[in-house]
């Protein structure tokens, strides 16, 4: 019966079109993700693709290893040397690119240093150029003291409770230093474009999924369906099963293909580096590696998709309307982004299901939740809340649909 339910879904033209659009959107996003990793050669020309990634990998991995004071001093020296070169000082941007070509091997370390040596909420791309050999040893301490200073600032003073402040500082202190560093651009590109891919998948899957329960009414096949022996029990379970199967199958296929292409071209090196070794993850208080972050992204994405699309099923079972239910994922994804400017809402927004589709970004947000003296970030909450809601929705969906009356 499950097979027929899946067949019904994909017999609709809308579902077929949705799959085509998903394929096209997927190809485009993968293209952008892979293209986001650029290599600048000695002539100052940039390129992307397998060969470019390979050369960037070579350059960056010359710096692979523990980032201790020696490495930082070495980097500062290299940086100064390049800053003094004719290419760097030239006003021709192609010449500047040539200078950058020599810096890109340590560009990640440079970025971290810029963060470490500016205030918590600032970023100065040229800060590293004025860091002295004497102060470079305070690199790791500064990550913590920047946070401590900010937490005492007027801006943040009242934003967090004492327990929350303690929690953040403890997390920062718990991060293992010195960092282990190597080329990790595959993971970074994956993380950057994962929300786009996952959100597109959810939005587009909304179309076939919205028809699963509503189409019986549109086809007027409902009278035969609900008057059949199993129409109010097993057939309803088959529908729910088909929905979960379609979501699961397509989601993991997309994730698998996306991972395969991105890592196939950009490589999987850097899996064990902390996410704090990159520009995006520097401030995160989740002390995880790129590989752990990857697992979080794909699992969070799955839980989020399952939750949102089960909600689509529920709305379509209740309203009998594919049109209304297909808007559910759009609302869940776009309303939070409209509200994101309102800072009083940020705590609530941090717990909304769209966060699950962008776990790579969610681990960088500073939303904290306190019960008693226990403090936690949003990630563990949403990773348990939405699976629970998913399981709560299933019997509700079953009951709503099996009690359908035909008027």
């Amino acid at each position: 019966m499950l097979r027929y339910e899946v067949k019904k879904v994909f017999s609709r033209t809308g579902s077929k079109i949705a799959l085509l659009i998903l394929t096209a959107a997927f190809a485009l996003t993968v293209f952008l993700a892979v293209g986001s990793v650029e290599y600048v050669d000695e002539q100052g020309n940039s390129s992307s693709g397998i060969a470019a990634a390979r050369r960037l990998w070579e350059d960056k991995n010359k710096w692979a290893g523990e980032i201790n004071e020696d490495v930082l001093l070495n980097m500062l020296a290299k940086n100064r040397e390049i800053n003094a070169s004719a290419e760097y000082l030239s006003s021709d941007y192609m010449e500047n690119n040539k200078a950058y070509a020599r810096k890109q091997g340590f560009s990640d370390i440079r970025d971290m240093m810029n963060y470490a040596f500016t205030a918590f909420r600032e970023y100065d791309y040229y800060r590293v150029d004025s860091v002295t050999d004497e102060e470079v040893g305070s690199f790791y301490e500064r990550r913590i003291s920047n946070l401590a200073d900010w937490l005492e600032s007027d801006e943040a003073k009242d934003m967090y409770s004492e327990e929350e402040k303690k929690f953040l500082l403890a997390r920062y202190q718990a991060l293992k230093t010195p960092f282990y560093y190597e080329y990790a651009d595959g993971w970074k590109a994956f993380t950057e474009y994962a929300p786009t891919i996952i959100m597109l998948t959810v939005l587009i899957l909304g179309f076939p999924i919205s028809g699963l329960f509503a189409s019986e009414f549109q086809w007027k096949a409902d009278a035969v369906f609900f008057s059949a022996k199993l129409g109010r029990n097993k057939a309803v379970r088959a529908k729910i099963g088909a929905g979960i199967l379609i979501v699961t199958g397509i989601y993991w296929m997309v994730v698998f293909l996306y991972s395969a292409v991105v890592f196939g071209i950009l490589g999987t090196d850097g899996a064990d580096c902390a996410i704090q070794t990159g520009l995006g993850g520097w401030k995160s208080f989740y002390n995880i590696t790129y590989f752990e972050s990857y697992l979080l992204i794909i699992l969070g994405g799955y839980l989020g998709s399952l939750f949102m699309l089960t909600l689509v099923m529920l709305v379509s079972a209740k309203t009998h309307s594919a049109v209304i239910s297909v808007t559910v994922p759009f609302a869940l994804l776009f309303i939070p982004s409209f509200l994101s400017g309102i800072s009083v809402l940020s705590k609530v927004l941090g717990l909304l299901p769209d966060q699950l589709l962008q776990m790579g970004q969610a681990v960088c947000y500073f939303n904290l939740y306190q019960t008693g003296s226990a403090v936690t970030g949003a990630v563990p909450i949403i990773m348990t809340l939405y699976p629970v809601l998913f399981f709560v929705m299933l019997p509700v969906l079953y009951q709503v649909y099996r009690k359908t009356q035909i008027k």
Binding site: M1, Y4, K220, A223, V224, F226, K407
Partner: protein
């Protein structure tokens, strides 16, 4: 098989579509006759557990059908008035799916689907998509799905509506064939349908069963007579204003009117045999059926 409707009522807001009906049915063919809006479909939907009554209960062999749940639906075959299906499914796939919905084991289902496809004359179309079938063929696929589980209770809502005369005759014959040893309830607003197939006729009006019995009983119960008279053309409008005229035939000598009336409507009028058509017109005040009165 015994079905009892006990005080069955369905209201939509303040409007009563089915009005306190209490009747009993056993095996045989019941024809539910009534004009559009009489409440036939609503009654049938309740019998198919698609709609909960506002009041009253339906018992199947003494058990409440809503409590029986799938045990009751197992006995049921239903062809809805607006028969919908999965347009992209082939006839065969459609029937196999409905067989699965009815809980028929796959091996049995395959055999049964094959038999029924033959029986309803869709063998050549078995692999055609449902949406490609003609109106009559769709209806035949509809009766095939209703018959898949060899139902003890077969409910057909206006099964012949919209069919062309030939297709309608085929369809009536098919229903007659299929109606042995089960309880069949079919609704129609076309008198000749029930005349040919039904053993028992129920005339439904404004949610109530007004008259019931065999065709003969119902005809015998009519308190007035039917007359035929040949009149001149200019007389026609005066007579149609005064009497219910069930038929009107133009002939070289004038117009032959068929008049339903307790008194003799005019000098030359002769008593005629009462037909169900006349009864329908007498009780419901409008002409039975849209097409097909001649058949």
């Amino acid at each position: 098989m015994k079905m009892e409707l006990d005080n069955l009522t369905k209201q939509f807001g303040a409007f009563t579509a089915v009005d306190h009906i209490s009747i009993t049915m056993s095996n045989g063919v019941y024809g539910l006759l009534g004009v559009n809006g009489a409440g036939k479909t609503t009654l049938m939907r309740m019998l198919c557990t698609l709609l909960k009554p506002t009041e009253g209960t339906i018992y199947c062999n003494g058990r409440d059908i809503w409590e029986m749940d799938s045990d009751y639906r197992r006995l049921l075959g239903y062809l809805p008035q607006e028969f919908g299906f999965y347009p992209e499914f082939s006839v065969q796939d459609y029937l196999l799916y409905i067989a699965a919905l009815k809980g028929i084991r796959p091996a049995v289902a395959r055999k049964r689907v094959k038999e029924l496809i033959m029986k309803v004359g869709l063998a050549k179309e078995a692999s055609h998509k449902m949406k490609k079938l003609s109106g009559g063929m769709k209806r035949r696929a509809g009766i095939a799905q209703a018959m898949l589980n060899d139902p003890q209770i077969l409910i057909l809502d206006e099964p012949t509506a919209g069919l062309d005369p030939n297709e309608r005759i085929r369809f009536r014959n098919l229903i007659s064939e299929l109606s042995e040893e089960r309880l069949v309830l079919l609704s129609t607003h076309i008198v000749s349908d029930v005349e040919y197939i039904a053993n028992e006729i129920w005339m439904m009006q404004e949610g109530k069963i007004m008259h019931q019995g065999t065709a003969e009983q119902i005809i015998a119960s009519m308190p007035v007579a039917v007359w035929e008279c040949l009149v001149e053309k200019q007389m026609v409008s005066a007579l149609t204003k005064r009497y219910k005229v069930s038929n009107l035939k133009t002939e070289p000598a004038g117009v032959t009117l068929r008049i339903i009336s307790g008194e003799k409507p005019c000098e030359q009028a002769k008593r005629a045999d009462i037909t169900l058509e006349d009864v329908f017109l007498y009780y419901f005040g409008e002409k039975a059926g849209d097409e097909d009165v001649a058949i």
